[in-house]
Amino acid sequence: MAETVFARPLAQADVSTHYCPGCTHGLIHRLVAEVIDELGVRERTVGIAPVGCAVLAYNYFNTDFHEASHGRAPAVATGIKRARPDLIVFSYQGDGDLASIGMAEIVHCANRGEKVTVVFVNNAIYGMTGGQMAPTTMPGQVATTCQLGRDVDLAGHPIRIAELISTLRTTAFVARATVHNPLVAVHAKEMLRRAFTCQVEGRCFSLVEILSTCPTNWGIPPAESTSWLEKNMLPYYPVGVFKTPDGGSREPLPLTD
């Protein structure tokens, strides 16, 4: 008899999402939901939705959810995890939410070592508000607030969050992955699994930055946008594990007299 071997995970709601065609948010949602199911923690998971395209994430997961204001999801996560350390708490944020307005919150949440998991979706642009420049927008990339392309003299260079967070002394698991084709998406799921496992084992803070496409605001069809990501974003945002709770953390340089 035919057996269904690939179906919707229980932690993912049986609804159609509002995401654009080809937007990899849906894929990342499914990866997170699969990891939550496989680790067996769905019944004690609380997610935190950002302000951004994923603002309605609470409709797409079958777990308790908390809507945060823009950028403050790591602070909300801190509050929930300190109130109920037995819950598995994850935040799901975009590049405006995490790397712009929420920069203080993510750095301090990671630095305090709050045992939560942050899923950071980096698509180098602001999605929900219609395509403005993000802190992660590539130099020369056109956005509605840099219509001649990002000028590094005016706006600086894009921020690499995984590297930045990994320089903190506090133990953490920090990785970057991408989902522009299914083979690398398998690796992304593995990174998410390791991140959530850190929280399940009560070890440390975990962050997975996931490079994602935004066909609508990049102005190219979904299949082409995956090649655009591979060609333009991947060299600047290398995929890999930047910090693990097992490996040595970056020691600060010794003080000189």
Partner: protein, 77 residues
């Protein structure tokens, strides 16, 4: 024997699955679904090798895979 099932009303016509399939057995149809998108269809079911790359890449949970008998796992997922 693996079988790909695409739900037309879930599909948003993004074509990622068409490009993901190493056997190139998926294609875009000619009819629109109830959301107004042209949806993907399985063109050559017989040549499916059950790799699940289409299922993995679909952002909208529109693709499911059914297996009759042995399934080969090319990678752990």
């Amino acid at each position: 024997m693996s079988r790909i099932v695409i739900s037309p009303d879930r599909c948003k016509g993004c074509e990622l699955c068409v490009h993901a399939c190493p056997q190139q057995i998926l294609g875009m149809g000619k009819t629109i679904n109830n959301k107004g998108y042209i949806y993907a269809e399985v063109v050559e079911q017989m040549r499916c090798i059950g790799c699940r790359l289409c299922c993995i890449t679909c952002p909208d949970m529109a693709i499911e895979m059914e297996v009759n008998g042995t399934m080969y796992h090319y990678f752990s997922y």
